[in-house]
């Protein structure tokens, strides 16, 4: 019998109880949130249990919700059971004050760079990561650029010297 979202969530609540919450299924993909410190236990459980078998980490990334005080950063995991062909997505929330989340590199080699990328752009500190340093940005950067406090420039701003950007009056023509 194929694995269903219902069965997965039953198995998880049986094991972790109240630590699994906010369960919903946007576009059919089972999504839930777990207590921050349990992320490795849940990953391990989903990986090891023979009837669940989520052995493929599809994607790992973060989202910044600045209004969610104390829990600004969400780390999102997408897992895939390739045999049953079913996916799950779960999130853990951490505050920007102390964004510590356990690393998944012990289970998935593929988490290594994805966590580095997440650290690089959101500053999530993956505890236990073997080589947590910036990957796409320059090493000297001292902020986390994908956080919402760094808005992209307003395209209509007028205080810039347009001549430097090929707009406005060209030098020597007026």
């Amino acid at each position: 019998m194929p694995l269903t979202n219902q069965q997965i969530i039953e198995r998880l609540t049986e094991k972790f109880g109240q630590d699994i919450f906010d369960i919903h299924e946007p576009y059919g993909l089972l999504t839930f949130t777990i207590t921050k410190d349990l992320n490795l236990k849940v990953l391990r459980f989903l990986y090891d249990e023979p009837d669940l078998g989520f052995t493929f980490l599809t994607d790992l990334c973060a989202v910044h919700y600045p209004d969610n005080v104390g829990k600004e950063l969400a780390v999102v995991y997408h897992l895939h059971n390739l045999v049953e062909n079913i996916r799950v997505r779960f999130k853990v929330f951490a505050g920007t004050e102390q964004p510590d989340v356990f690393t998944a590199t012990g289970i998935f080699e593929s988490a290594n760079w994805q966590e580095r990328e997440t650290y690089d752009f959101y500053g999530v500190n993956f505890v236990g990561h073997p080589n947590l340093k910036r990957i796409l940005n320059v090493d000297e950067m001292d902020y986390f650029p994908l956080r919402k406090e760094f808005p992209l420039e307003d395209q209509t701003r007028t205080d810039k010297d347009d001549e430097m950007f090929g707009r406005g009056n060209l030098i020597g023509l007026n």
Binding site: P26, T31, F56, T58, V76, H78, L82, E109, P145
Partner: protein, 409 residues
């Protein structure tokens, strides 16, 4: 103890060591892209490799947070630029999934034709470049004219060749013209023979086999753990293909097989890509026949009925009020996107290309993350090359089909 006389005297302050450090890249002709490898060599054997990426990082995920959806399509072009139509279609289908737009079958089939042509051009470049790196330039030049033909087909449809920006959210910008169909026919007739000849040049070639067999191999379990997808995973014996596991754009209507390898080495990756090109041809043939079956007004369908997201025809903009309003709203990016959270993936040239899109009801994504297959499987490179020769590392790199644009996002 005094040093023997032939020992090289190093300048003061130098560190003496047994191994050689070699910087391969960031701009080395053999890397086919901008990324660096710091290799530690013992003679010609690789002791360790450390990859540095990010030289052409362009912050697409950040830029996307300020753009209306249709302006994000040109960003996806620049991920895997060897098969940009697949990226474009992946993005369109993600948006359509979010907004619940159902595509007419004809549009799906036209998209399939374009995506499979793109897959062929992607694999063609990869395989012929593996040939170049093993010392056979002929194959590369020979197949280039058929990539040219594929690019001409794109040109008939969207006007551009490499970074295509092909199609729109909700369909295509215009119907395929007769020249496009004639060129697709020409491709279907001529290309199989060319591919056969290309295959003959390599697949049983003694030099090629010895250079690629047992080089850069990985077993299925490790490949999964490293997050491999696409031809590289299938070469390791695991038949995961998004087109079959989660069909999009009506892939379920087509009959094709997924070729798999066994050892996951450069040779198997080459064979898998070659076989996939035959399968792609088979899909294009079926799709072409299905498209030809639409007659009369059905044959003019090239977009869905989604006025809020699909740009109306120009003559309607001048004559109809609603069309003018929608035109204005779409062009100015003033269409609100429904709030939601969606993950959608397509089978790109290199594997599962995923789009994780979160919207909050505004006019641009709240968060957009690209799952870039290259970035994920390039991590395995140091494991794949450990203990092999420097020249094997080059072949491993090209046979993994690493595309710097996709890696850096």
């Amino acid at each position: 103890m005094s040093l023997p006389e032939y020992h090289v005297k190093l300048p003061d302050g130098s560190i003496e060591k047994q191994t050689t450090t070699l910087n391969l890249g960031p701009t080395h002709p053999a890397t086919h892209g901008v990324f660096q490898n710091i290799l530690e060599l013992d003679g010609e054997r690789i002791v360790s490799a450390e990859q540095t990426v990010g030289y052409i990082h362009r912050a697409f995920e950040k830029i996307a947070e300020r753009r209306p959806l249709y302006q994000i399509t040109p960003l996806t072009d620049r991920l895997n630029y060897c098969s940009s139509p697949i990226n474009n279609m992946g993005w369109h289908t993600t948006c359509e999934k979010l907004m619940g737009i159902k595509m007419p079958k004809r549009v799906d089939y036209l998209r399939v034709i374009i995506m499979e042509l793109a897959r062929i051009s992607d694999h063609l470049i990869c395989n012929s470049v593996v040939g170049v790196d093993t010392g056979a330039f002929t194959g590369f030049l020979y197949v280039m004219q058929y990539r040219e033909l594929i690019y001409e087909i794109y040109e008939e449809i969207c006007g551009s060749r490499l970074t295509t920006n092909i199609g729109r959210i909700g369909g295509f910008e215009r119907n395929f013209n007769d020249i496009a169909f004639r060129k697709i026919e020409k491709f279907l007739v001529e290309y199989p023979k060319v591919l056969k000849e290309f295959e003959n040049l390599f697949s049983r070639n003694r030099i090629f086999m010895e250079r690629t067999q047992g080089i850069g191999g990985i077993d299925g379990q490790r490949a999964l753990n490293y997050g491999f997808t696409g031809p590289n995973l299938r070469a390791a014996g695991i038949d995961y293909d998004v087109r079959v596991h989660k069909p999009y754009s009506s892939y379920e209507d087509f009959d094709f097989t997924i070729p798999v390898g066994k050892t996951g080495d450069c040779y198997d990756r080459f064979l898998v890509r070659n076989q996939e090109m035959y399968q792609s041809l088979k899909i294009i043939e079926q799709a072409y026949r299905k498209v030809q079956e639409f007659k009369g007004t059905d044959a003019d369908v090239f977009h869905a009925d989604a006025p809020e997201y699909y740009l109306p025809a120009k003559e309607d903009v001048y004559t109809k009020m609603e069309a003018l309003i929608y035109h204005f709203k779409i062009v100015m990016g003033e269409t609100n996107i429904p709030a939601g959270e969606v993950y959608h993936s397509v089978e790109g040239g290199n594997g599962e290309l995923g789009f994780y899109l979160i919207t909050d009801g505004g006019r641009s994504p709240y968060r957009l993350h690209f799952r870039r297959p290259c970035f994920i499987y390039y991590q395995a490179y140091s494991e794949l090359t450990k203990g092999s020769m420097l020249s094997d590392a080059i072949i491993t790199m090209s046979s993994l089909n690493l595309i710097a644009g996709e890696m850096d996002g």
